[in-house]
């Protein structure tokens, strides 16, 4: 990852997060570097437990207080270092500059408040205004995520809405303050396919409209293909491959990426039985010698088991990297 991009909106360098549990400590985010430009969508792909969500939360600096700590690296937003901000300053960044859409629309809205209140809360914090303007902007935010009759919906409780509608509200909260970056953490997993498609279209439209950058976290390469410009693939806390979507689909450099891509459902959207990767990822606390994917890799050889592969360019352009011995050899 030596392709330092000067025009990057969000630039993450060598980010390291350590988690301590009773069973021991480990690094779910291990030396991550990536960046994203305005108007760009970066997909972060990996199985559960690969450290995707942890990466997202560390960007927001919302890691579990006692158990997880950022152990190094830098996160720059528009050239401003986030990791050294005070908690108070960071609060001003959250919701205003970087926003996030959480996984589960069923539970990510507070059942005790109306949706209007929950949108307004963010507005109030980051762009204060009179009662009336706040209300207008709240309704406007709802309108932008295509909620019908937003004037009435502001008074609804989450419990009175459908899952898709709620996820739109979550989206409305995220975009309400017009952030530069939105992190979407598997926002569509729990929605059915049609709603999912609508939602993704909506995100794209919003991006076109505002020019925000999106970090799209998913385990589904199908979505990545539709939505993202670039993608990084994570496995066991490490970035194993990164590059433009087209290149990676055309020629995955890492066997894990290859396996993930072959798991994408057919273009018709039918969920056929996917190729599954045999075996399990290592437990987070396991001490891994060599390539962490080696035990499941059909190409693995002795070196893969004994020595960790370096990150290398996968082609001449330099925007496609991977960490695999096979790429090194090539």
């Amino acid at each position: 990852m030596n392709t330092s991009q000067t025009d990057a909106l969000l630039d993450v360098r060598n980010l390291k997060v350590e988690v301590t549990t009773k069973a021991g400590s480990f690094f779910p985010v291990n030396d991550h570097s990536f960046s994203v430009k305005s108007g760009e969508t970066l997909g972060i792909v990996g199985e559960s437990g690969s450290g995707k969500s942890m990466t997202a939360m560390s960007l927001m600096r919302l890691l579990p207080k006692h158990a997880a700590k950022i152990r190094g690296g830098s996160v720059k937003l528009d050239g401003r270092e986030l990791l050294t901000l005070s908690e108070k300053e960071m609060r001003k960044v959250r919701g205003a500059d970087i926003s996030m859409i959480l996984q589960d629309p069923q539970t990510s809205l507070n059942p005790a408040f109306t949706v209007g209140d929950q949108i307004k809360e963010a507005l109030k914090l980051h762009a204060p205004g009179g009662r009336k303007t706040l209300r207008e902007r709240t309704i406007d935010a709802l309108r932008r995520v295509k909620v019908a009759a937003p004037e009435h919906r502001v008074n609804s409780y989450p419990g009175e809405m459908s899952g898709g509608m709620r996820q739109r509200v979550v989206g409305a909260i995220a975009i309400s303050c017009r952030p530069k970056v939105i992190i979407a953490d598997e926002p569509t997993t729990s929605l059915d396919v049609t709603v999912q498609a609508q939602y993704l279209r909506l995100l794209k439209e919003l991006q076109d409209e505002t020019g925000m950058a999106i970090l799209f976290i998913t385990h589904d390469f199908g979505i990545v293909a539709n939505l993202c410009h670039r993608v990084i693939v994570m496995y066991a806390g490490r970035i194993v491959e990164s590059g433009p979507v087209a290149k990676i689909f055309a020629k995955p450099a890492h066997p894990y990426t290859e396996a993930l891509i072959s798991a994408v459902p057919s273009l018709h959207g039918q969920k056929e039985r996917l190729t599954t990767i045999p075996g399990q990822p290592p437990a987070p606390t396991d001490i891994v010698v060599g390539c962490p994917f080696a035990p499941r890799c059909q190409y693995a050889d002795a070196r893969c088991h004994s020595e960790a592969p370096p990150t290398v360019a996968a082609d001449q352009s330099g925007d496609h990297t991977t960490s695999c011995w096979r790429a090194v050899e090539a």
Binding site: V19, T21, K22, A23, P28, S48, G49, S50, K52, S53, M54, P64, A67, A68, Q103, D104, E186, A283, P284
Partner: protein, 292 residues
């Protein structure tokens, strides 16, 4: 929730991992203070718990001027506090066990049926629950003691009465969730009788709840027993239930403190350990019950 949430799909913890949190110390304390004395009182007591020794009245405990003859001191009739505590354990165990059993059987049966058949019976049972919660157990105990005389039985009834409603409520709530579950529907389709569905299919699914709830009630039962003894309507003398020992020594808290202190300590350690084990059971078996 000891570990950090790493991702939405938290890896299931193995039984071994869970058992590592097992509260060993509370279990050890419980064994030493409660279980072993309850079953082996005759072997480990130093004196007859009932026989006064009027020449050894109000002996202080060892290290406070007493002797090893009476390690925890003696009461005002010269009976060995240690031996009385040890012998009392059995009665405390019996009262809380049988009392809770009464509560469990009554509460679970009513809760099961109420949640399953719904309708008027459900309403009726829930009214009974209301009533039972609205009648202070202590008053009932007083009236009951006046009516039938205080006895082991009356104490057990009071404990059962005080607790059944909690079981009924909790079990009913769970049955309401379960009765529409797939496996219930399947067995209904398969032609199982209601009785069979209730007791073969639903009951096993609420067992965890009952076990956890029951464990957490042990403390309440022991406390209730103590309060009844305080009011003079507990298990009759000279049975040395801990409640009676504490209650008997209460006049001497400022002077001959050991009479009430050691039985009180026994109660405290027992309730403490049972509660800690109960918490662990709850977290392990049935995290939904956090709120009981």
């Amino acid at each position: 929730m000891a570990e950090v949430q790493i991702s939405a799909q938290r890896p299931r913890r193995s039984l071994w991992q869970r058992s590592r949190d097992f509260p060993i110390l509370p279990l050890a304390v419980l064994l030493i203070v409660f279980i072993i004395p309850a079953f082996f009182a005759h072997w480990i007591a130093l004196h007859d718990p009932y026989v006064p020794n009027l020449r050894a009245r109000l002996q202080p405990p060892i290290f406070f001027g007493g002797t090893w003859e009476y390690p925890l001191g003696t009461d005002r009739l010269g009976r060995d506090i240690y031996s009385r505590i040890v012998h009392g354990a059995w009665y405390v165990l019996a009262v809380s066990f049988i009392g809770i059993l009464v509560g469990v059987v009554v509460g679970t049966t009513l809760g099961l049926i109420a949640g399953y058949v719904r309708g008027w019976f459900d309403g009726f049972v829930m009214r009974l629950v209301d009533i039972s919660l609205a009648l202070p157990a202590m008053l009932l105990a007083l009236a009951l003691a006046a009516a039938m005389g205080a006895s082991f039985l009356s104490v057990v009834i009071v404990v059962g009465f005080a607790l059944w409603a909690y079981f009924a409520r909790q079990v009913r709530a769970e049955v309401l969730l379960l009765r529409n579950a797939d496996f219930v529907a399947r067995s209904r389709v398969a032609g199982s009788s209601h009785f069979r569905i209730l007791f073969r299919h639903i009951l096993p699914n609420v067992t965890n709840t009952i076990v956890v709830l029951a464990t957490l009630q042990v403390g309440i039962a022991i406390m209730l027993d103590a309060s009844l003894s305080f009011l003079g309507i507990g298990i009759p003398r000279p049975t040395p239930t801990w409640g009676l020992l504490v209650s008997d020594g209460r006049d001497f808290i400022a002077t001959d403190w050991w009479i009430a202190f050691f039985p009180g300590l026994a109660i405290m350690l027992t309730v403490l350990s049972v509660n800690m084990i109960g918490d662990w059971l709850r977290d392990t078996l049935d995290p939904r019950l956090r709120q009981v």
